[in-house]
Amino acid sequence: MSNRLDTRFEALSRSGRKALVPFITMGDPDPEWMVDILHALVKSGSDVLELGVPFSDPAADGPVIQMASERAISRGVTLRSVVDAVATFRCRDPDTPVVLMGYLNPIERYGYAAFARDAARAGVDGILTVDCPPEEMKALRDCLDEQGIYPIFLVAPTTTSARLRFIAGQARGYLYYVSFKGITGANSLDRASLAGPLGEIRSCSDLPLAVGFGIKTAEDAAAVADLADAVVIGSALVEQVRNAVSCDDACERVMGFLAPIRHAMDNRD
């Protein structure tokens, strides 16, 4: 079974392009706009979509994603409705890889096997559960493997060399390096601190390497694109979308925000 993540990263690698990976909190500010926003992300030059599944207790997230999650939950967004939105998105977009990012308890309640089956049917390619390290993932992993869905894992500045090798052995799709010790959206990117750890990760794994947390501007994105295969932009994008007054406005904001980032990533010296 081929996974869209592999296909996409192979194509990017052949063309020498770096992946733009936007993160949005699904259902914020209006659940009705979810699918249109996903298409707008793709139209803006995104290569992989990370879709945040809102959770009531997002302990690894900063205020922007916390508030977006609270708003989405209050408007009835659930893991199930996110999976449904992916299925609808897939009717018009068969190729763009989709990764669901969130916390474990909604998947617990859905049931591992049922979730993996429904997510695969909807066209989900990867799952990133922030609060589930590979050590605790075995049962879920079995269900995901059966459906060809990749588990995506984080590597942090605090990850030791031994642990990095362990995670690299477990990971599929891509490895996601968290650029600083902190919560989403908190600090600014410290570009100088990236080269060392990224080099070490490269020496342990052939998987594409994404960097996220703290990337806010086109300049940041271009700098990260020099070192990594994929650039993840989350809180800064969520902040743009949340103030939209209509679906069209939300899509325009997405495109207006991502266009210069895409441009900067593609036109590095």
Partner: protein
């Protein structure tokens, strides 16, 4: 009487190496914290076997906390209940007024030995926050306490106590603005300040090794109770009763008795406005297994897996999860978990105050309420031991408001 012998950490049942009690426990945290947990596991494993560390801990428990706490025969309460003899383990007499200090003395000392200059804590009722601020003041550590906005209002006196002790109390306004949200915020702080910060979790929940460590530091309660029973009554108690929010006072009392099969154990959760009302905090009685705050255990969530807002008159029990070892004791049948309403707890609060001249915390009042019910079903020659986990001075404002009395 050798109190110090009781204070050495001994354990009778252990989880597996990665902190699993059967299917419960474990380490469900973001990658950035994994290394910090490994460091903590290693440090705790090392210092708990270090003579100097343990001697210092024992000495602090004796001369600073004021241990051992008495085992007190509540004669008039026993007469009213009309059954088994009711004994109270007087954790309310500890320095700062609750069992919480047993744990914070241990963890702050560990932080000190690990070279961490800053400690953070979450708090619900404020007891753990006060206990953390207290030990931090004594060790010269800077201390930040996260507390839900709702709890800050209902526990104003404890907030002021923490500030007097030099701690910074940060109001948490996300989610339900109570203990669970304070825990989220403390986790976020820890992730962001991992190099110099030690997170003092106040209950037997959270990722491994916290459930084991917090239990071990509180197990002094159970060891003392066991010895005092033998000294004062020459027998073990027939039943133990303790309130359960996260479950640290109950786990501390229960743990040394786990292998004494004839000793029955009862954990008392907060039934709030009644289990059928949905407005309660009884995760073991009315919840189901899931993952929250770093561990797998029973919790209260909706069908989409979102954690629910809980309700209890007592801020310290107002938490939607519970320690994983309790989940394991429940499933294995070794302990039984029951729930007591706000109303029943308030009645017990007044009963104990008027009959024994002891003002219990609203948390502990839940244990007293169930203890009286249970004693009535037991024989007069039997003994029931209630953990009086904290004193009620912090709750007088709440009780007055509930009874429309302006102070």
């Amino acid at each position: 009487m050798s109190s110090e012998a009781d204070q050495t950490i001994l354990t009778t049942s252990e989880p597996d190496e990665s902190g699993h009690f059967g299917p419960y426990g474990g380490s469900y945290v973001a990658e950035t914290l994994m290394h910090a947990l490994d460091e903590l596991k290693e440090a705790y494993g090392r210092w708990r076997q270090d003579e100097e560390f343990m001697a210092r801990l024992d000495s602090d428990l004796t001369y600073y906390v004021g241990r051992p706490s008495p085992l007190y025969f509540a004669r008039r309460l026993t007469e009213l209940a009309g059954g088994a003899r009711i004994l109270l383990k007087r954790e309310d007499l500890n320095h700062t007024g609750a069992h919480k200090i047993n744990n914070t003395v241990g963890q702050a000392l560990l932080a000190h030995y690990m070279g961490k200059s800053r400690v953070i804590a979450e708090t619900g009722a404020g007891q753990h926050g006060v206990a953390s601020a207290t030990v931090a003041a004594r060790l010269g550590q800077s201390c930040v306490v996260y507390m839900g906005e709702v709890d800050i209002h209902r526990q104003a006196i404890n907030v002021f106590r923490m500030r007097l002790l030099g701690a910074e109390v940060r109001s948490v306004t996300s989610g339900s603005k109570t203990l669970k949200d304070a825990l989220n915020e403390a986790m976020r702080d820890w992730v962001s300040n991992i190099d110099d910060t030690y997170y003092i979790i106040g209950t037997v929940a959270g990722p491994h090794p916290y459930p084991v460590m917090v239990r071990d530091f509180n197990a002094v309660v159970g060891r003392e109770a066991c010895r005092q029973m033998m000294e004062q009554y020459d027998t073990l108690p027939d039943a133990l009763v303790a309130c359960v929010g996260g479950g640290s006072n109950a786990m501390g009392l229960f743990h040394p008795f786990i292998e004494d099969a004839p000793v029955k154990m009862f954990g008392v959760e907060a039934a709030g406005r009644g289990l059928s009302s949905g407005q309660h905090a009884a995760s073991l009685c009315a919840g189901r297994p899931g993952v929250l705050h770093g561990c797998r255990s029973y919790l209260m969530d909706d069908d989409a897996g979102q954690i629910m807002h809980t309700h209890s008159v007592s801020a310290g029990l107002d938490y939607p999860g519970v320690g994983p070892e309790h989940a394991w004791l429940k499933d294995s049948g070794r302990a039984e978990y029951v729930a007591v309403t706000d109303q029943e707890a308030l009645e017990a609060f007044h009963r104990l105050t008027r009959l024994e001249g002891i003002l219990p915390a609203l948390e502990s009042s839940h244990a007293v309420a169930y203890g009286m019910k249970l004693a009535a079903e037991m024989k007069a020659d039997q003994t029931l031991l209630v953990n009086l986990s904290g004193r009620g001075d912090k709750d007088v404002q709440t009780v007055a408001e509930l009874e429309n009395i302006s102070l």
